[in-house]
């Protein structure tokens, strides 16, 4: 059913550190790789080597320039995938029951054999987390790598989403955001993690950590004392040279 289940105690999700993300897109590649080869329909590409390539991705990295009132602009890389919202509007609009939120851990999934590909769930999502696969005609979205995180055939360290496992900068964290004592919850509390578009009322589980303020470096130059301008009231040879050069046409006064 597309009725939302009562809020689960366990809320699995991601915490994405905008301070640490270097915008390498490794998470995009590993996500596409894992989710093309495993659970559900593959993520197709259209005209991949042509003039107008396009394809289905469950995770995309945007880059934003943020210009503070004073000081340098900051470049912030911004990975975005399904936020596994508690009040997921994509679930309730689904006419077939294909879109659902799991009662046990809060993961939002699509049962692809029930999906008619009407696209309404993608309309309802403010985050652009759902993409209709052009080849398969079904809605694709982040599964939080549900086929990895509980998979006992994988070594323990691999039982996390592919994007988290692969991130070379350690900018992505996976855990239970419903447990106030979990590492991810502590990280959110410590760093002031925030929701995207809170006014949409979706109550996202995934949180974003803000970029730390840029360091303010005081004006400091070790060579400065040795590069003091020569005194203009110089005496002797330097004084004569200054006057002589200044008197030439175009000379500095």
């Amino acid at each position: 059913m597309t009725q939302l289940p009562p809020p689960s105690a366990k809320k699995l999700g991601l915490v994405i550190d905008l301070d640490t993300c270097v915008g390498c897109h490794a998470c995009v590649v590993s996500c596409k790789g894992w989710n093309t080869e495993n659970y559900g329909a593959p993520l197709s590409d259209q005209n991949a080597y042509g003039a107008d390539p396009s394809g289905t991705f469950l995770n995309r990295v945007h880059s934003y320039e943020v210009q503070p009132a004073a000081g340098e602009a900051q470049l912030i890389h911004f990975p975005k995938s399904c936020l596994h919202c508690e009040d997921a509007p994509c679930v309730t609009v689904c006419p077939t029951g294909a879109s659902y939120k799991r009662a046990e851990d809060g993961i939002v999934l699509v049962n692809e054999s029930d999906c008619i590909g009407c696209g309404l769930c993608a309309w309802a999502c403010p985050y652009g987390a759902r993409e209709l696969d052009a080849k398969e005609g079904v809605m694709k979205k982040c599964t939080l790598c549900v086929d990895r995180i509980y998979n006992e055939n994988l070594p323990e360290e691999d039982r996390q989403p592919a994007c988290v496992r692969t991130c070379p900068a350690g900018a992505r964290h996976f855990g239970d955001l419903g447990d106030a004592d979990s590492d991810v919850s502590k990280l959110v509390a410590e760093r002031g993690g925030f929701d995207l578009m809170p006014e949409q009322g979706t109550k996202p589980v995934n949180k974003y950590l803000p970029p730390r303020p840029k360091d303010e470096m005081p004006e400091f130059d070790v060579l400065a004392p040795y590069l003091e301008p020569i005194a203009s009231d110089g005496k002797g040879f330097v004084g004569w040279l200054d006057k002589a050069l200044s008197s030439l046409p175009g000379g500095a006064k």
Binding site: L18, Q67, T96, G97, C118, P126, Y127, E199, P211, P213
Partner: protein, 290 residues
């Protein structure tokens, strides 16, 4: 929003068809025998033709039967159920008129109201979208209902009612456009809330995720033709409402009536195109676009 031809055709023709079924069910016109057969055929061609067109944009239309299951939460599901119910009830009512020359008044009223229910549930698919501020407003269902009832009155040849409803429709549509033009800005969603970076400074999209386009940009960031929006609005009002009213007020003639219907349909098709093409989805903010 991408103005998909199948959805525009569905909204326009099903709206007219169910509008005509509404008036038939309410007994505004009570044809019998062969006449009733023709009236109901026209109404069903419009209503069912539109419904069939709407399945063309589905990825898996063969599974459409599953869409009747989630009426508790989904307006699309409610629309499907309502449509099947209205069509069955009106078929019974129509059969009474065609074959028995009997008006089953209660069944007609139920079918007529259910026909309006189809139009209302359709409109709520759009009006519920918090992600599209322009649509999330009472004018969306009001306009759907007014267009359907007005178009139905035109098709069923009720000159006075159609004239009044078209004048109201034109006024409401102008209000819906003008009030909708600022709704995105005042919705409270902008690049600052989308990225959560507004506390640092002014946010600008620096680089998109990919060099190419994608499903989201094709579906939600439709900008082509918006520059002609003002002209298209004038054309819409002229064709959908003004010209039909003028043609209706002239001394009655079947050719003028047909022209009024054609003009209205063309105008409503333009209106529906604008309804989608001008609707801005908040996901565009992530791409620095509207």
């Amino acid at each position: 929003m991408h103005p998909a031809a199948s959805v525009i055709i569905f909204n326009t023709f099903s709206g007219l068809g169910f509008g005509l079924l509404f008036w038939l069910g309410m007994g505004a016109i009570v044809p019998t025998g062969m006449g009733a057969f023709i009236w109901f055929t026209i109404a069903y061609l419009f209503a069912v033709g539109g419904l069939i067109a709407s399945t063309f944009h589905l990825g898996h239309p063969e599974r459409a039967i599953k869409a009747f299951s989630q009426w508790k939460t989904s307006w699309l599901s409610r629309e499907g159920i309502c449509a099947v119910f209205a069509l069955i009830v009106m078929a019974v009512y129509g059969a009474g008129l065609v074959f028995a020359e009997t008006r089953l008044a209660l069944i007609g009223v139920i079918g007529g109201l259910a026909s309006l229910g189809v139009v209302f549930t359709t409109s709520m698919i759009y009006a519920q979208m918090k992600t599209v501020p322009r649509w999330r407003h009472w004018t969306t269902p009001a306009m759907y209902l007014l267009l359907s009832v007005g178009g139905g009155a035109l098709l069923s040849g009720q000159v006075t009612i159609a004239t009044v409803l078209f004048v109201l429709g034109a006024a409401l549509q102008v209000f819906a456009w003008l009030s909708g033009d600022t709704r995105f800005q005042t919705s409270g969603t902008d690049m600052a809330t989308a990225t959560g970076l507004g506390h640092i400074g002014k946010v600008r999209a620096f680089e998109p995720p990919h060099t190419g386009t994608n499903y989201l940009m094709r579906e939600f960031i439709y900008q082509v033709g918006r520059k002609h929006a003002d002209k298209l609005r004038i054309i819409t009002i002229a064709l959908a409402f003004v010209l039909p009213v003028i043609l209706l007020l002239l001394p009655f003639n079947h050719i003028l009536a047909v022209l009024a219907v054609l003009s209205h349909i063309t105008g409503v098709l333009t209106l529906r195109w604008l309804f989608f093409a001008q609707a801005e989805h908040v996901v565009g903010l992530y791409y620095g676009k509207r």
